[in-house]
């Protein structure tokens, strides 16, 4: 197994082989997560800092669980406890943490590029747990893992991503990752929620009409509509958005029989979906994505911290 990355920030720096290594490793950790005793000593002695400078529930909790299950020592900072609240710069905070001889920083920040800045001022490995509207690579990996587990492949699948493409850090990583793995990507949403140059991310098709594209998709990936963004009026009302882009029971008739429904969470019932679709017993893989989050994050920690040298079974 060859894996020589130090950081997980820009998924575009990863090859299809690198990504498959991560997914295969996540699959192995999935077995660990289903044991009665869900813990291995793989990263014993390693110190991981969870620097979550903006609110996060699922990403933060799954990273923390991943660290615990790998026996790493973890330190939580950020949020209201961060010294940036007292005026300290991100760089000074990182240099202070670094003085503790830490091994990894997992960073969530509202500012794009924050993980990159940290790599310039710390010798630690860095995982981007979401930076502004830029990227969220572990989310992309857990999405790939979920699709791979359900469909047995990623290459050749037609994936439609629906909603706020332009402001989505998930898209910043997911679209390039899908392209690396050979999928075809269509983005769907109103013009006000489209990025300036979707082709730069690797998007194959841009469509403003969900009904046009639904019949062709193997995976329908719904993005969360940030209600707080409505003040900027990218669309007139949630009601109209739901009518145009909501995945409703009526729209299910347009979908392929085996098409999956995915969402990075948290979901807004009545906006992206109606409840029937969000909880669809066959199509919806949303909770599988949540579970995949732990497996993929364990894999990322393991591989980036050199766990491979010790062997997975150790």
């Amino acid at each position: 197994m060859s894996f020589d990355h130090k950081h997980l920030i820009d998924i575009a720096e990863y090859s299809d082989t690198d990504i498959m290594t991560l997914l295969e490793t996540a699959k192995a950790f999935s077995e660990v997560n289903r044991r009665a005793i869900k813990k291995v000593p793989t990263l014993k002695g390693k110190t991981v800092v969870n620097m979550f400078n903006e609110p996060s529930t699922r990403t933060r909790s799954s990273f923390e669980l991943a660290e615990k299950r790998l026996s790493a020592d973890s330190l939580n900072c950020g949020g209201s406890s961060t010294s940036t609240v007292k005026g300290e710069s991100l760089i000074d905070t990182v240099m202070t943490l670094d003085a503790y001889q830490i091994d990894m920083i997992i960073v969530r920040d509202k500012h794009a590029g924050a993980p990159y800045i940290i790599t310039q001022h710390s010798p630690a490995s860095v995982i981007d747990a979401g930076d502004g509207k830029h990227g969220h690579p572990t989310q992309a990996l857990l999405d790939l893992y979920t699709i791979w587990q359900h469909r047995g492949r990623i290459e050749g699948l037609r994936v439609g991503i629906v909603g706020d493409i332009g402001h989505s850090r998930v898209c910043g990583s997911l679209i390039p990752a899908l392209k690396i793995m050979g999928a075809e990507v269509t983005v769907v949403g109103p013009g006000t929620l489209m990025p300036a140059c979707p082709d730069v991310l690797g998007v194959d098709h841009v469509n403003l009409n969900l009904d046009d594209v639904l019949p062709d998709l193997d995976v329908v990936y719904m993005l969360r509509i940030q209600k707080e963004r409505l003040e900027g009026a990218p669309f007139p009302s949630l009601r109209e958005y739901h009518g145009l882009y909501g995945l409703t029971r009526a729209r299910e008739r347009l979908m392929r029989p085996d098409a999956l429904i995915a969402h990075p969470g948290p979901i807004n019932r009545g906006v992206e979906f109606d409840s029937h679709m969000a909880d669809h017993p066959v199509r919806s893989v949303i909770l599988d994505q949540v579970y995949a989050g732990i497996c993929v994050r364990m894999a990322a920690l393991f591989l980036l911290l050199g766990g491979a040298e010790n062997g997975l079974d150790s």
């Binding site: 710069s89 760089i91 794009a112 590029g113 830029h134 300036a196 730069v200």
Partner: protein, 430 residues
């Protein structure tokens, strides 16, 4: 006692000079220009073989930061940077604290500049009080105390009605109105060029149209009012085209381009989040930069400027969205223009002198300088073949936020005179 500058390649397209000559400076003025001038026994002589001698360079867009932001730069350090960059004069922008919107601030800037003595400073006054775009500033009073032009640089005047009032009222003073074209409603919190950079970096986009709409608006207002308009730091191909079309229609409009918009593009930001490349307007596309160069060649663009915008290192060492806009340029612009435009043959030294000396003075309406008898002895001497690395030996500016740091350059100012007095001698500040 006089000083004879010998064997320099004198370039001054305003008076048709382009050859090896001697220049005799007596007191504050040039006394004579000719081949192998005879000197008196008491004359000082300086052999400038291999160097070029041109009318003193002017940067018509500089932030000296004083008063109010002396931790970034002050008039002493800013003008020292100007001298080492080969400039004999700079035009200071009014977005200081307090804003230069009154005669007292204009007088303060001039008095500090006289005390520093490294180059002339031509202060710009704000068009509106506090640069808030709401109330006319006392332009008449500022002109009476030395303001040479008006601008709300740092932000555009958002109201078209207010901009018209500025032009209609202020045109009686005969000064140029320099416009920072930025439609805040369209640009919002834009950080980088809207397009590839904003999509790749996940940063809010600053659309080209956010600049072009105000360029078009202000051109139309100049046509309506008859006021002289100068477009600051034009950065887009369509912006250049708008100015080109306006000039063809005889509207009194001029424009400038910065060295960073000429020689850097949004591609340089790729993967770096380098806050030294965060400028306003943002670095645009390669096609935009090419259009700017074309505008220099066909004379649509009248001046090359730096928009020298110094910031403390700690201010730039932030997340991209939190860092202030701007980069320095006074110490690098001459060498960049020589290295990237003149040596490759895109423009001549004569055109460079027009862009960096002659036209800026004409636009600002300040004393014309030429290499002729009787002219004030404001002279820049540069070695066109001297190679050096930007930033290796430090900076005269207090700030180091230069997006070209580490670049190998060719050409550098070696001697600068202001009113016959040396401000730079053999590359060292006097």
């Amino acid at each position: 006692m006089a000083l004879i500058l010998r064997n320099a390649h004198v370039i001054d397209p305003a008076c048709g000079l382009d050859g090896v000559l001697d220049v005799r400076i007596a007191g504050e003025r040039i006394e004579r220009v000719g081949e192998r001038l005879e000197g008196g026994d008491s004359d000082d002589q300086l052999d400038l073989t291999g160097c070029c001698l041109v009318p003193g360079l002017v940067d018509m867009h500089v932030h000296l930061r004083e008063p109010g932001y002396e931790h970034k730069e002050d008039i002493e350090s800013g003008t020292r940077a100007a001298a080492v960059g080969g400039f004999t004069a700079v035009c200071s922008m009014p977005n200081t604290d307090p804003v230069s919107d009154s005669a007292s601030v204009i007088e303060f800037v001039l008095s500090r500049a006289r005390a520093a003595g490294h180059c002339r400073v031509h202060p710009c006054g704000a068009m509106t009080k506090g640069e808030r775009g709401e109330i006319l500033s006392e332009m008449g009073d500022m002109v009476a105390h030395g303001a040479v032009a008006f601008t709300d640089d740092g932000r555009g005047v958002q109201s078209a009605g207010m901009m018209r009032r500025v032009m209609d009222y202020g045109k009686m003073f005969g000064k140029v109105f320099m416009s920072h074209c930025q439609d805040e409603d369209l640009v919002g919190d834009g950080q980088v060029n809207e397009g590839v950079a904003s999509t790749k970096l996940g940063l809010l986009g600053w659309p080209a149209a956010g600049e072009e709409l105000q360029i078009a608006r202000d051109i139309r207002l100049a046509e309506l009012t008859g006021a002289r308009l100068h477009i600051q730091h034009v950065s887009t191909a369509r912006g250049v085209e708008l100015v080109r079309a306006a000039k063809a229609r005889g509207i009194p409009v001029t424009c400038e381009a910065t060295v960073h918009h000429l020689f850097l593009t949004e591609d340089d930001l790729d993967g770096t989040y380098d806050t030294n490349l965060k400028v306003n307007p943002p670095l645009r596309t390669a096609a935009d930069a090419a259009a700017l160069v074309e505008g220099l060649v066909d004379k649509t663009i009248d001046a090359i400027v730096t928009d020298h915008a110094p910031h403390a290192a700690w201010e730039k060492a932030r997340e991209f969205e939190l860092a202030p806009f701007g980069m320095t340029g006074l110490e690098s612009s001459l060498a960049l223009v020589i290295s990237k435009l003149v040596r490759p043959g895109t423009i001549s030294y004569a055109r460079m002198v027009e862009l960096m000396s002659i036209r800026p003075r004409e636009i600002l309406g300040v004393d014309s300088i030429s290499i002729t008898a009787g002219s004030p002895a404001d002279v820049t001497v540069f070695d066109p073949n001297l190679t050096w690395t930007l930033g290796r030996d430090g900076y005269q500016s207090k700030a180091e936020n230069c997006g070209f740091a580490g670049t190998e350059l060719t050409g550098r100012a070696v001697d600068v005179f202001v009113s016959g007095r040396p401000t730079l001698a053999d590359g060292a500040i006097c």
